[in-house]
Symmetry: C2
Subunit: 398 residues, 2 copies
């Protein structure tokens, strides 16, 4: 039915191609490319049956990307490389006339400040070229945004309060490790907090606001208000939202490690001269920390991510709603060889590509996922290992 | 009277040449050399009056060292470079017929395991060449060993129990910094503990044994049993010692930072390949941590280092004895531009060189400082800013 090029061979890329390989009726041809071809080869070999082709590409180089796209001729490029590379890959897709999908918005390498503005700026050019770009199609952003669109369509006349809650109650048995690229993870969680209230962004100190929240099947976990990228598009696409926040659980030991990493200067993103060579401390730290892709083997426990929503029901009454997915690290590992954090990000990216190939999500321009029909996507989540649950009119704790 | 070459332009080197420059009757000519000549120039400029000459030398290269020694013709070389360089500098002194003094014993770069054996192995060669080598002439090792020799000469028939206690009750106002070279400091304090008891070395886990000890003018501070190099030579030179231990104070925050630095892999001393270049994590960490030489400006409070001794008095009675120095960080900074930890190490090194030049400490061979006459050294400590105090027949807490 369709031909796909996946760029990025980390934990998420592994899950994306695993999921696609199980759906030959949709993904008739799959290619996985990254800077290090041997990583792609290892992933392809585990999948077997020559289902996945591999290639070497430097995603920082637009001409190299364009050449690969021109020779392979995919219907869509799925970008699960680094956020710094989003614009290069968008440029290459635009130049070669191919659709685009990613899971994390652009962030300039020299500043820890991600935002959609850079990618939204491509809207007219994608529209004029008749090309579809789907932004933020992982779990959060991604499924959380689709959960919100689903709630808005089926259960609410208007959504007034949105709290996205992200709990990782898993234990990987290491003193310290990040669940995805340490560089991106540490940049994200050490920044100032930010939430939307009454038409304005309210800033907080990092981890200033926190409270215990109860996660289904897990129990209470201290949860910290942090800024997360889907808030930017959701308050724009659902203007009835009065307050939108994002909460993430962290253990005390994790926070202590983060604090020390900042104190000793290893979270710095500006280069340090070492023996005459420029080295960015956080990039070097990534080399010595455990590889998130290899955490899966001993990872136990669950993740629980969802949306807690308050608003006015279709019938005009005040209503609360909680929609969530719980994902098990051990099951994820058995299925794909990676842990739940990669699994919950990679499966939605594959579903997003499927939505495009099936022409269910296809419109020229640059779009966030909540701007498409949530229903077929929600059905695939249940089928492909990320089943969701919902509760109505409960205490949201928020 | 004498000509001295100082190698190493860190905080200790700064104090050494400052102290020597104030003693023109002893040190008629002073040269400071290091890998980075500009550091030497900056130190020399602060001292002024062209008292200190400077030179560039790579202390890892014996021929380069020998060439500098041959051209400058010093009476003694004072080594305050890195412990890895001790043997190179000893080789160069031996080859050029010049006396040697250092403040820290040799440690191979690829293993955190310092010991005197490598340097003691030079004894016969120094003896045959008629050359004096003085090992470990800082504060600890150095003054602590001389305190012990002084106690043995004047107050004890035999020393049975020796506890060296090292308290830094200063506050530098930084979240985390080490008081001397972070690489050496972290290697030292993260190793297993070790002490001497009844003719054997007893091993402990790192920081396993600790208790609060009361420091004069400071009060109680949690003190941790760690291994420290002077124990090796002291139990050999004072064979009546039944138990010898070393205690150092650490704050909880300092220990937390150390624990995280180890957990995240930044204390590793084996190289990691980063962008095709071999980088040793702990050496890179040194680049991002605050420079210990620059801590002085805001450093407040005191250090207190001394020996708590129990044994049999000259009169044959059981006796306890506590001898210590308290040093003030602010005073040290006013005097030399560096903090007390550099000050307490650098002043004794300068006094040791003075002892050699005055021919009070001059005998062919390789010697630890407790093997020389302690009395003239003790008198200079009082004169040069490190006055000592003593108490008899008190509760040692140990």
């Amino acid at each position: 039915m369709g031909k796909v090029l996946v760029i990025g061979a980390g934990g998420v890329g592994t899950v994306v191609v695993n999921t696609m390989a199980r759906l030959p009726e949709v993904f008739t041809e799959i290619m996985l490319a990254s800077r290090t071809k041997s990583k792609c080869d290892a992933i392809a070999e585990r999948i077997g049956n020559n289902r996945v082709k591999t290639a070497q590409v430097d995603a920082d180089k637009v001409p190299e990307l364009a050449e690969l796209i021109r020779s392979y001729k995919p219907d869509i490029v799925v970008n699960v490389a680094l956020p710094y590379q989003d614009l290069h890959i968008m440029d290459a897709c635009l130049g070669t006339g191919v659709a685009y999908l990613d899971t994390a918005n652009y962030e300039p390498p020299e500043e820890a400040k991600y935002a959609y503005s850079w990618q939204w700026a491509y809207k007219d050019r994608y529209q004029e070229a008749g090309l579809t770009a789907i932004l933020g199609c992982g779990f959060d952003p991604g499924v959380t945004s689709i959960f919100t669109a689903y709630a808005a369509r089926h259960h609410f006349r208007e959504i007034n309060y949105l709290d996205i809650v992200d709990c990782n109650a898993g234990d990987h048995g290491k003193a310290f490790a990040t669940n995805f690229n340490p560089e991106i993870n540490i940049r994200e969680v050490t920044q100032k907090g930010k939430y939307w209230e009454n038409g304005n962004w309210v800033m907080t100190e990092p981890h200033e606001i926190h409270k215990p929240l109860t996660y289904p099947g897990i129990g209470p976990k201290e949860s910290y208000l942090i800024y997360h990228e889907e808030l930017e598009s959701l308050v724009k696409n659902f203007p009835s939202i009065k307050r939108a926040r994002f909460w993430m659980t962290f253990g005390q030991e994790y926070l202590t490690h983060l604090r020390v990493i900042q104190n000793i200067g290893m979270a710095r993103i500006d280069p340090v001269i070492y023996n005459g060579v420029e080295i960015v401390p956080i990039k070097f730290l990534k080399e010595v920390l455990p590889n998130p892709g290899e955490l899966g083997e001993n990872y136990k426990g669950w993740t629980s991510i969802g949306c807690r929503i308050k608003g006015i029901s279709k019938a005009g009454k005040e209503r609360t709603y909680y929609i969530w997915n719980n994902c098990n690290h051990e099951d994820a590992y058995r299925e794909t060889g990676t842990q739940a954090v990669s699994f919950t990000t990679g499966v939605p990216a594959a579903i997003g590509a499927m939505m495009y190939i099936k022409e269910l999500w296809k419109k020229p321009g640059v779009w966030n996922v909540e701007q498409f029909d949530p229903d077929p996507f929600m059905a695939e989540l249940n089928r492909l290992g990320l089943p969701w649950n919902e509760k109505f009119d409960i205490d949201l704790e928020l």
